[in-house]
Amino acid sequence: MSAPILQVRELVMRFGGLTAVNQVSFEAAQGDITAVIGPNGAGKTTVFNLITGFYTPSAGEILLNGRDGQRALHNTPGHRIAQAGVARTFQNIRLFPGMTVLENLLVAQHNRLQAATGFGIAAVLGLGRYRAAEREAVERAKHWLEATRLMDRADDAAGSLPYGAQRRLEIARAMCTDPVLLCLDEPAAGLNPRESEELAELIRLIRGRGCSILLIEHDMGVVMRISDHIVVLDHGKKIADGTPAQIRADEKVIAAYLGEGDEDEAPAPAEGAA
């Protein structure tokens, strides 16, 4: 068993007097789909924001075991985190709405293009090396357009796509940065059952490519079906950590979702749990 792709150690995030994340530690294994669940306000998105460099943690460590050894993410600026191999999507979609679908995917490959072409010098001079790199970038974009069934919308403005397609495009864009860890923040939110089934397929496909996945999701159907490992947060603290079967049977988890109760069923989607 190789080292875990992500190690979170005693992570703390305070906003003024509010402790949104309190001493949270967990690991995400290489090649696994790790889900982070919990009622609304449990601190899931804050954990994501800490991992992807939106916030700097008040205390604790986040370590990524990426392609070039171990990297501490908690003191790395945003664009270097992407370069280290972490990509993410958002609960509220953040595409570049004024650019085309294809351009959205090419932007994500800016770094590789720049590095391949002497940081734009070759691009300005229109050298062959740039053309080759650009062609390669378009090929990669096409690959993900096919995987997300967006090929026929490639030249449309991203903002004009229907909601479900925008969700898929956001995942495709994240994959174009060639990540080792993909963080998905509620990817199934607002999708109909058929669409979330397709999403689960897409996530499995991505995992099959050797990319580890960290997932925040309220749709328990999706979570239980595809996760290898689940971390449960409540009020900023980790209350459980284990396989889907273990989590389903965990008393504390059931209590957190449903209040003190004696339900044997898997916790229902937590829409009303705010």
Binding site: G78, A87, R94, F96, M99, E103, V107, A108, G120, V124
Partner: protein
């Protein structure tokens, strides 16, 4: 008719200069949402660098032909770009993430610094230069009035069009341009995709400053005199052009520049020269009443 045609030519040549400066305003506004009030003075710096290079080149005995002009243009673009880069690095970047007015005040400060620096370093007197580009082509002769386009005007129009074409290609077709547009739409997200947003912003200032340098060189060649204060009015007018065209829109900046140039020229030709600036700004105000986002601007979309 012939008179009007002549004014059209004059107006377009003037408008191109405004357009080149306006692009710098609109780019910076697009990417970091601030008005770079020092941009007019960057244009002035460009004109001075050109003047100094002309003097040096003619002293070096390399003549004053088209080759020399091209060399001067390139030198001016490079050195002015360095100024643009430094201004951003020193005065704006440390204030990023601060409240919105802070970089604005800092920009006004940089404008004063640049003006006073040139005033002290180069003297306050008006600096003349002999006309290097002379001659004109008579296009049409009607009603005893000859319509002509001077070589200078033709040069301004051609150089500007070439520069703008290269620039448009850069923004729409290259990876760098995509990164710039991405930063414009969602800077934080661009960072998450691995784009170095600070560097992209620096590049924006460098490009804006080198376009202003082209405008400065053209201004110097066209009018033959410059002083440390030319950046102020030219800056305000180019800014007006950017707003008129729709701030944030690149074609809008060029269109706005052309309109301002034409309004000024036609007003001076048919009404009174003294009131040309009044007329220009009155038209701006009226346009904004009816089209608050400018001619080609799009309404700000609320981000959810």
């Amino acid at each position: 008719m012939a008179y009007a045609l002549q004014q059209l030519i004059n107006g377009v040549a003037l408008g191109m200069i405004y357009g080149l400066i306006a692009v710098g305003y609109t780019m910076v506004y697009g990417i970091i949402g601030m008005i770079n009030f020092a941009h007019g003075d960057i244009f002035m710096i460009g004109a001075f660098i050109s003047l100094i290079s002309f003097v040096l080149i003619s002293m070096g005995g390399w003549g004053t032909g088209p080759g020399a002009i091209l060399l001067v243009l390139l030198v001016s673009m490079a050195v002015t770009a360095l100024y643009g880069w430094s201004v951003e690095r020193v005065a704006y970047r440390p204030l990023r993430g601060s409240f919105r007015l802070a970089p604005l005040i800092s920009a006004i400060g940089m404008s004063i610094v640049l003006q006073n620096y040139v005033q002290v370093a180069q003297g306050a007197r008006v600096k003349p230069i002999e006309s290097l580009v002379t001659g004109s082509v008579e296009l049409w002769h009607g009603n005893g009035f000859a319509v002509s386009i001077s070589t200078m005007q033709a040069m301004i129009v051609i150089v500007t069009l070439v520069i703008l074409a290269v620039f448009t290609w850069l923004v729409t077709r290259t990876s760098l341009g995509r990164a710039m547009r991405a930063c414009e739409q969602d800077r934080k997200m661009a960072g998450l995709l691995g784009i170095d947003t600070d560097r992209t912003i620096s590049i924006t200032f460098v490009i804006g400053a080198s376009l202003a340098a082209v405008a400065g060189t053209m201004y110097l060649l066209r009018y033959g005199v410059i002083d440390f204060y030319i950046g102020f009015l030219a800056g305000v007018k180019a800014f007006t052009a950017a707003v008129l065209g729709g701030i944030g829109s690149l074609p809008g900046a060029v269109l706005g520049g052309l309109l301002i140039g034409l309004i000024e020229t036609f007003w001076s030709a048919y009404f009174s020269v003294q009131y040309k600036d009044v007329a220009t700004f009155a038209i701006l105000a009226i346009t904004l009443v009816f089209m608050p986002t400018g001619l080609l601007g799009r309404a700000e979309v609320e981000k959810v």
